[in-house]
Amino acid sequence: MADTRTTGIPSKVTQGSQTKGGIGESTLRPDGILKVTGEFAYSSDMWHEDMLWGQILRSTVAHAEIVSIDTSEALATSGVYAVLTYEDLPTEVKNYGLEIQDTPVLAHGKVRHHGEPVALVAADHPETARRAAAKIKVEYKELPVITDEASATAPDAVLVHENRDDHHSGHVPHPNIVHRQPIIRGDVAKARERADVIVEGEYTFGMQDQAFLGPESGLAVPSEDGGVDLYVATQWLHSDLKQIAPVLGLPEDKVRMTLSGVGGAFGGREDLSMQIHACLLALRTGKPVKIVYNRFESFFGHVHRHPAKLYYEHGATKDGKLTHMKCKIVLDGGAYASASPAVVGNASSLSVGPYVIDDVDIEAIALYSNNPPCGAMRGFGAVQACFAYEAQMDKLADKLGMDRVEFRRLNAMEQGTIMPTGQPVDSPAPVAELLRRIKAMPLPPERQWESSEGADVRQLPGGLSNTTHGEGVVRGVGYAVGIKNVGFSEGFDDYSTAKVRMEVIAGEPVATVHTAMAEVGQGGVTVHAQIARTELGVHQVTIHPADTQVGSAGSTSASRQTYVTGGAVKNACELVREKVLEIGRRKMGTYHPAWATAELLLEGGKVVTDGGEVLADIVDVLEDEVVELEEEWRHRPTEAFDLTTGQGNGHVQYSFAAHRAVVEVDTELGLVKVIELACAQDVGKALNPLSVIGQIQGGTTQGLGVAVMEEIIVDPKTAKVRNPSFTDYLIPTILDTPTIPVDVLELADQHAPYGLRGIGEAPTLSSTPAVLAAIRNATGLELNKTPVRPEHLTGS
């Protein structure tokens, strides 16, 4: 049992079909059967003979000096194999981090946030490990906590990180600011004079958790060569590897990483969690070590979405044209940098939204504080801004007496618009069309909860809790639209690698696609098989498990994988196809003149001319030959934003979605039921329409969650997390989620593979402000904070 489970993970999956199954079809997931039968091996399912369980002792306070740590009693516990602290780290590299290596593997001298890892235990049973961890005595001397902009930048503020020397430290106004990005374009003061109406607003966005269902977990197996095999759920194997190997003091080729089943990610697995800890314990004990967080620990074990304060001023002329925009966006990055710099870049460069405004004065900063570390989450940076600018658009339209959707359409950006960064938008930007479509969709019927047997509470605010039978219920409708960048921006060398192999197996041509792309549920593996079928004309495609035996695929984040790793697979397939054709020309070139003259394709297992004439079976071309190659692929390069003006061609591609929310609000109790949340999105090209719709509906629902219920609540006095559980951090149930009709637009981006557009994040942006707008429409309240809580609606 043990061996099959460890070595069989993750299983190779072969996808084949009678139909062509290429791009544009809704082919089904190659891992579907394994996932419905319970056999798909997630990282927490790993098991090994004689394995130990790792346990992490975390800080009980947010900010403190560590006076002493006493592990003796824990070490003396029967069944305990190792107890490790900072002192046991094997090399001089003791920190890690995505961009800034400021995160200690284990706390040294100081803890900077609630739940920071302090010590590790390995034992023969999870309960033994927990009991031993509880016996470790840590003495803390508490320090004052930094929890917001005021406390972070006060003259006497305690520095979260002393002696910063990272590449942002030189340009930030205060050491407790991770990164600052201003964007200045045009002349706001002058443009302001043209404004007939001015609208200001202050908005607060709460801290959201990714709340992926599969907890952080993995298995580290020490190997005979002194290295370690790590099976783990992550978004980016190679980024992990770069951070893990130096801490272990091992060359990268001795840390062999394999992606195990990933139970969702949404940004929360871009940073390391238990990876180094499991490896340290495995190398120390010489035994396999499994670590599985429970839900409580998971809330401390990954970064969250940055909470934000956003200050906006917009102006418009009386005929509804936007004149200018000023904003300041303060993102709370918490104790460690994680992806904060990128979040600042997105928030600032997308703070205008999908609108044309020539004169802007923008500033975005991320703080260091003693709050939980924040980093990547679906739509990072753009989500917070969208919540604020869309509220502003409604206020402006109302002040002008214009229709809210028409006002947006009047100011909508389009292809050719110059972004505040000076970058021209050089592919379709159908913002006005998306808004038109979303508004044209039929509205759901009123009072659907009424039935012959009385009110069906399941369809009313409050649901099963039986709070209203229609009393106090008011309907509201709201609209929003958003813009998200696709891929890694600001000059990052964003590439992916694909290894594609083609051979004849059992009389049939078979392609094998090997990438390090983390399949986190999004369906990249489905799409890779489709691309291989389209490009190589095969039915059978094997998707090799993702591991570090192939080059980096980059992160499964920023809506980039179908674009970038999809692009890499397409590119590798094209090169393999050329090789196959070369072999064909070598072997059969003399049989038919078309071998030399025509454009040749691989289709349906055959070599065909672009006119459709069959020249040969691939099987006969290849015979025993195997074609295999590995290639890196890059999208066009981007530039860094200028640190004072914010100018620069920083982004690769943009993604647009619009939502219409229909809500029913119990205005007396302040409870909300979202009745429908319709979405229109331009996807460029839907490589797999079923998956595209699944992404849009899933992203939409995460936006709904943050609109009405989701927030990690941190005590401002202690910086301690108050609701680290699924009992008190609520995510939408199936009774909270409405029907989500989706209208998919496909306007090709000529720069992207197949014309596709990254799609995963855009629907998370506009969903939240649409729901807020609908609640405002129902209640007449201003509502400048998300999530909306019942007491915000009742005024009590």
Binding site: R5, S11, V13, T14, Q15, G16, S17, Q18, G21, T27, L28, R29, P30, D31, G32, I33, L34, K35, V36, T37, G38, E39, Y42, S44, D45, W47, E127, A211, F212, L213, G214, P215, V262, G263, G264, V292, N294, R295, D456, R458, Q459, L464, V520, G521, Q522, G523, I693, G694, Q697, G698, G699, T700, T701, S725, F726, T727, T733, I734, L735, T737
Partner: protein, 200 residues
Amino acid sequence: MRVNFTVNGRKQEADDVWEGESLLYVLRERMGLPGSKNACEQGECGSCTVRLDGVPVCSCLVAAGQVEGREVVTVEGLADFAKNRSCGGHEGGACGTSLQEAQGWSAKGTDSQTGEGGISPHATLAPIQQAFIDAGAVQCGFCTPGLLVASDELLERNPNPSDADIREALSGNLCRCTGYEKIMDAVRLAAARQSEPEGV
């Protein structure tokens, strides 16, 4: 302590069980049945849903010692469980009709390119499993086992559920990926296929 119980029709025995272990832990870590998932371990997500003497429960909240002598069905046994049900509950008994039915589902599976034989030892899937694949109700899949067990039990009780019935029955199963729309589709699909006359 030692615990004996029946899992998916087979007698199982677990030794050296710590008294605080849950049924979920025993299934996952001692019986090689990790299909039931450990997403919250506080009864808030339904990922660990199993049938305990036929009743859907969160296995994370059942103490291992409480299942002594009882019968558990997990997602790993769902296909067989559904097959037995369709032949009238004769446990392990052969049943011509259901076999045909099962092959029917299997054929549909091939149509929809769910994969090749040999990937999985399962010749057949329960109708609800097939419907989840076909409807696109699976993304990361971590919630899927619990949803399958809960949905299968719903359709056993109520073969033609309304949308509100489906939502109520699945309100204890969180999904973070799909927004639930495709899950609704899957249950509707399974219900519709279930009500199709045989052989169609």
